[in-house]
């Protein structure tokens, strides 16, 4: 990843000191959400595109961008969740977006 235009005033160590605890909490929130889904319906990942997208996004979280890879983790997850098509819809189908693009044609459970 390219260095920023405005350097971070804090060192890496200082960022960890300041932000580790709150991000640890976020990590546990995600783990608990997945456990909750397992407890209620572990098959959702095969039947609901939002859960599938979530699982695929988790894999991107762990993958360190390769050397020369321009996209950051956030950008790769944003693209995974985005509609990649370019053609407009013929008609309005629903008023609000759902948060992920159903590239697997799974629908919702």
């Amino acid at each position: 990843m390219q260095p920023g235009v405005i350097p971070s005033p804090k060192t890496g160590r200082e960022l960890v000191d300041e932000y580790f605890i709150e991000n640890r909490t976020r990590l546990l929130e995600i783990a608990a959400f997945l456990d909750r889904l397992d407890r209620t319906d572990a098959s959702l990942v095969d039947r609901d595109f939002r859960v599938r997208a979530f699982r695929d996004a988790l894999r991107l979280l762990d993958a360190r961008p390769a050397a020369g890879e321009a996209q950051t983790r956030v950008e790769r997850i944003q693209h995974l969740l985005s509609d990649p098509t370019t053609e407009p819809l013929e008609k309005l189908d629903t008023k609000s977006a759902r948060g992920a693009y159903d590239r697997w044609q799974l629908g919702v459970a």
């Binding site: 390219q2 920023g4 235009v5 405005i6 350097p7 971070s8 005033p9 804090k10 200082e14 300041e18 950051t72 956030v74 950008e75 944003q78 693209h79 969740l81 985005s82 509609d83 990649p84 098509t85 370019t86 407009p88 819809l89 013929e90 008609k91 309005l92 189908d93 629903t94 008023k95 609000s96 977006a97 759902r98 948060g99 992920a100 693009y101």
Partner: protein, 297 residues
């Protein structure tokens, strides 16, 4: 004391407590784009009442807290599918453009990226060009943002009469910000607690891309949102170790640089308490009371 301009705030949905909180945290001006009410308006008359609310009542309410209030007018993208209604509403907009607090056309754009939404978007762009107005653009949310932003940028670049520096393409995120900036437009990061950009991610984008042509705003409205999202952002910047001058350039300097392209925009001197409701009236009060029907009582 901190000072800021909130360039995107739907104040018609907010209480006076919110104005108070904004004033206490250093807000000197807000600009309010016309948007969806969360339900569909039933007629062009309904929109016209909304335009009167935005150009007449809301500036007076804001003035009671020493805050300047400006507006952008349009039929928003969430209602852009109805072409007949769009045509009727568009025909009523020009006379409100005379209002001394209207800065331009907005927030226009796309929602689900349909053919009708695109036609309504183009109509608004042409109206703005015809009347030499600034443009404020809403990009779709969530999975539609990337497609919608690309479509909007492609359409705008077709018009050679558009000066990109007079257009703000708002609600950018990590995957759309570069497309907008590379084409010379201004952009905005809207700081929503749940569905949009957090202060931390906004700061990451400033660190990566610099501060040119990027604003932050609360986009507070009738949903879960914070009227003081901009001061929260400023606080988060300080926590990350950034200097006060840099923060000021983002939350005060940048919006003024963009909005100041309209001769009507002015952060002005804050009115003294007690005269607020009357000092709202802009420099040219007679123009305000003429055709637009925006006269204060």
């Amino acid at each position: 004391m901190m000072r800021y301009v909130d360039l995107h705030a739907h104040m018609v949905s907010r209480t006076t407590d919110d104005y108070l909180q904004m004033a206490l945290t250093g807000c000197v001006a807000v600009t309010e784009p016309a948007f969806w009410a969360g339900w569909d308006r039933s007629s062009a008359d309904g929109f016209e009442d909304y335009f009167r609310h935005l150009t007449d009542f809301e500036p007076k309410r804001a003035a009671q807290y020493g805050i300047r209030h400006f507006a952008w007018l349009c039929l928003n993208p969430k209602e852009g599918e109805d072409r007949q209604l769009a045509r009727e509403v568009l025909s009523r907009i020009p006379r409100y453009l005379q209002s001394p607090t209207v800065l331009g056309i907005g927030e226009i754009g796309l929602n689900r990226v349909t053919r009708n939404e695109i036609a309504t978007f183009r109509d608004h762009v042409e109206l703005a060009l015809e009347h030499d107005q600034l443009i404020h653009i809403h990009t779709p949310h969530l999975e539609d943002k990337y497609k919608g932003t690309r479509t909007i940028v492609d359409i705008l670049t077709e018009y050679d009469r558009i000066e990109p520096s007079r257009v703000m393409i708002d609600h950018a995120e990590e995957h759309t910000l570069p497309i907008i900036l590379e084409n010379g437009f201004w952009t905005g990061l809207t700081l929503y607690p749940q569905t949009k950009v957090s202060p931390e991610r906004a700061i990451d984008m400033f660190e990566r891309y610099g501060t040119d042509r990027i604003c932050v705003a609360s986009a507070c409205d009738w949903g879960p949102s914070l009227p003081d999202a901009v001061p929260h952002f400023a606080l988060a910047m300080r926590r990350r170790g950034h200097a006060a001058a840099l923060i000021d350039s983002i939350i005060y300097g940048n919006p003024i640089a963009f909005l100041g392209q309209s001769p009507k925009f002015d952060v002005g001197a804050e009115p003294r308490s007690g005269e607020a409701a009357t000092t709202v009236s802009p420099r040219d009060h007679t123009a305000a009371t003429s055709s637009a029907g925006v006269a204060a009582a």
